[in-house]
Symmetry: C2
Subunit: 157 residues, 2 copies
Amino acid sequence: MAASSREGLNGIEEGDGVIIVDHGSRRKESNLMLNEFVAMFRERTKYPIVEPAHMELAEPSIRDAFSLCVQQGARRVIVSPFFLSPGRHWNQDIPSLTAEAAKEHPGVSYLITAPLGLHELLVNVVNDRINHCLSHIAGKADECSVCAGTGKCRLRQ
Amino acid sequence: MAASSREGLNGIEEGDGVIIVDHGSRRKESNLMLNEFVAMFRERTKYPIVEPAHMELAEPSIRDAFSLCVQQGARRVIVSPFFLSPGRHWNQDIPSLTAEAAKEHPGVSYLITAPLGLHELLVNVVNDRINHCLSHIAGKADECSVCAGTGKCRLRQ
């Protein structure tokens, strides 16, 4: 994955909508986490149309999100699965749900991007989580926002 | 999450072992992906002891990986959940399996780090996946390694 594609090359154009889709959970907190991620993503990329969706178990569905993109002017929809592994959901379920959704919007094209796992930057993410935890237990840093208040970030025996 | 923790501060010390644990799958490819990630992680961090583990459904277990770390000299084990969301697996299952594993190794301490979701670098990962796909369909880049050969990376209607 070329670093250049993060440093200038930007394929998103006017008329593009982005849907970030996770599995969906019965736990409200998990679904809210996707909203929070989408807010971060919108803010940092400044892309004009970005919508969250859940594959199942929670609203909004891929179908809802696809319609919302089209309502905002999207003529091309990029569906980005918020999954680490290229498993069955990426392989079959999300393509099939997206194809269904697209049927209702003739003339709108779409594509489904790769899942996240094995991206070189994930090494940095994992390493940063580790180093932050170690800094916290060494008394040099606050708990991260995930662990804050849970009492989880501590050395055990 | 301070950028400084990626740019110098490195809390891993001699005698530390790292376990990167995913859910585990009946699909061999998913389990192999973790091995591939661990290989990338080892190579880039140069940490002396790094082991993969699956929470369930596949070997090696957290218990196996914990023993392997101790056999290689670990006196402190850092368990890093390869999960996006801080759900039940992070909250309960992994801590409980790790506590069981640690019981067999008196004197060895451990900690469990935060999951990956909402790390600021994940915005870059998602954005890079999107831009790479768009470059591919514009004829400016090869398919990424995830999509290569699947015929998946194309615009549909």
